[in-house]
Amino acid sequence: MGQMITTNNLMYHYKNNEKEVLALKDVSLHVKEGEFVVIIGHNGSGKSTFAKHLNALLMPSSGDVIVKGLNTKDENKVWEVRQIAGMVFQNPDNQIVATIVEEDVAFGPENLGIPSEEIVRRVEEALKSVDMLDFRHKAPHLLSGGQKQRIAIAGVIAMRPDCLILDEPTAMLDPSGRREVINTIKRLNKEENITVIHITHFMEEAVDADRVIVMEDGEVILEGTPGEVFSQVDKLKSLGLDVPQVTDLANLLIKEGIDIPSDILTVDEMVMKLCQLK
């Protein structure tokens, strides 16, 4: 598998009221093609700033961001980078441009200068892939939050990206909307082999990821499989982050001297391990 995204010693600082703020400190990460990566961290940890670098919306103060072999600093490649690494934002209302669903999905391909017939085909495909084809002629403001986010995802998919970057797409949704969006992302990752970088602070969305990255204060402080990361219950809690309740429970039981693994993530696993206890 090839490299999709590489960041080398990425630093980013900006000025706020004459004060120099260091938002990203030396972030080096590699994301492989087809990987599903979840980034967690609380507000202000730098995860959104990081995401905006992957789509060339922000430029590194120093270091490099390489998207499928293209350096985002290369001004001639900016549009190519944005087509390869599509981005979905937090607020579903503020990223839909057109007054009709299918027109909005067409917005990206239109910007790329793709011929009309091809756009029609892509729009239909993209709406199908997020299960929103029945809504193609609807006005976006009449849709639910989860549906709007799926339209936003379709808008990116229609540009045929290799990688999907989602910047807290579920933060403003209710549980059923969140489920819709997560299932859509998972399916796109599995069936269309689209690389996903999903930023969230809902830990339950990280449980099925290939890899979890924890950011704090502009740095990557933990990285590994969901089991490896969440088993560090005390560390995550001290950062003010959530862990799955069963992982939390496993950690407490271990402290009481009970011999079970620390990386339990699901109810099924927990029941099984408890029953196996001697």
Partner: protein, 287 residues
């Protein structure tokens, strides 16, 4: 301050193609000083219900009594209702508008016609309740504060009206886990200290299970379930059918009860679950 809701029905856009029944014959009784968790997904009618409680919406039919005052009666003054029932909207920081934190929080009490000293005292008190430093923040612009702080300023703005019933519509929406825990902690603290009636609207069973005395589940404009967490969580299938669930830990305990019927399954916190499992392990060893 008790609340009694009788046969409350609300229809939006009546007699038009957009007619929709948001509340369908709701009957509820909430005791003074109760801490209620109101849960249900978007469109279940919970926001419509809360907006009735302080007179922002008028029922299509039915009555609402706050203590013994019928607030659906046309002769009741709106200001009387607003004094008694405070409503914190979703994303309340979006309603901030003044140049300073002090001015913004004093907007509500000033509208109630209170004296300057009284307003000052109320602002100080409410900032203390949400753990914001009066001296440090009173002259700052609310717009230069962090997201969590802005939200607390907005909540203080409602608290400053000294409501006997406090309704919060998803006060933790969009916050990270730390911000969420801070706000919930403060609401709990405030309830303990003031003893007022609190209605917390939420999507999260985890949050609600830990905090409230009683859970009210709304679905399609009606009350689907009402009772303590233990009572409500017994109806897992019903909750799931309306798009809700129970905390992961409660699922676990239900599964374990299938393994050993002696397991107590009315458990909502990780700490309780740990105790129960340790007891179970000891029981097994001794057997």
């Amino acid at each position: 301050m008790s609340i009694k809701i009788e046969n409350l029905t609300h229809i939006y856009n009546p007699k038009s193609p957009f007619e929709s029944k948001a509340l369908d014959n709701v009957n509820l009784h909430i005791e003074a000083g109760e801490f209620i968790g109101l849960i249900g997904h978007t469109g279940s009618g919970k926001s419509t219900l809360t907006q009735h409680l302080n007179g922002l919406l008028k029922p299509t039919s039915g009555k609402i009594f706050i203590n013994d005052m019928d607030i659906t009666d046309k002769t009741v003054k709106m200001s009387e209702i607003r004094k008694k029932v405070g409503l914190v909207f979703q994303y309340p920081e979006h309603q901030l508008f003044e140049e300073t934190v002090f001015k913004d929080i004093s907007y509500g009490p000033t509208n109630l016609g209170l004296s300057e000293e009284e307003v000052l005292a109320r602002v100080k008190e409410s900032m203390k309740l949400v753990k914001l430093s009066f001296d440090d923040l009173k002259d700052r612009s609310p717009f230069e504060l962090s997201g969590g702080q802005r939200r607390r300023v907005a909540i203080a703005g409602v608290l400053a009206m000294n409501p006997e019933v406090l309704i919060l519509d998803e006060p933790t929406a969009g916050l990270d886990p730390k911000g969420r825990d801070d706000i919930l902690e403060q609401i709990k603290h405030l309830h303990n200290q003031m003893g007022n009636t609190v209605i917390l609207v939420s999507h999260s069973m985890e949050d609600i299970a830990k905090l409230v005395d009683r859970i009210i589940v709304m679905d399609k404009g009606s009350v689907a379930l009402s009772g303590t967490a233990a009572e409500v969580f017994k109806h897992v299938e019903k909750l799931e059918s309306i798009g809700l669930g129970i905390p992961q830990i409660s699922y676990l305990m239900k599964r374990l009860k299938e393994v050993d019927p002696d397991f107590k399954d009315e458990i909502f916190t990780v700490e309780e679950a740990k105790e129960e499992i340790i007891k179970w392990i000891r029981r097994r060893k001794n057997a």
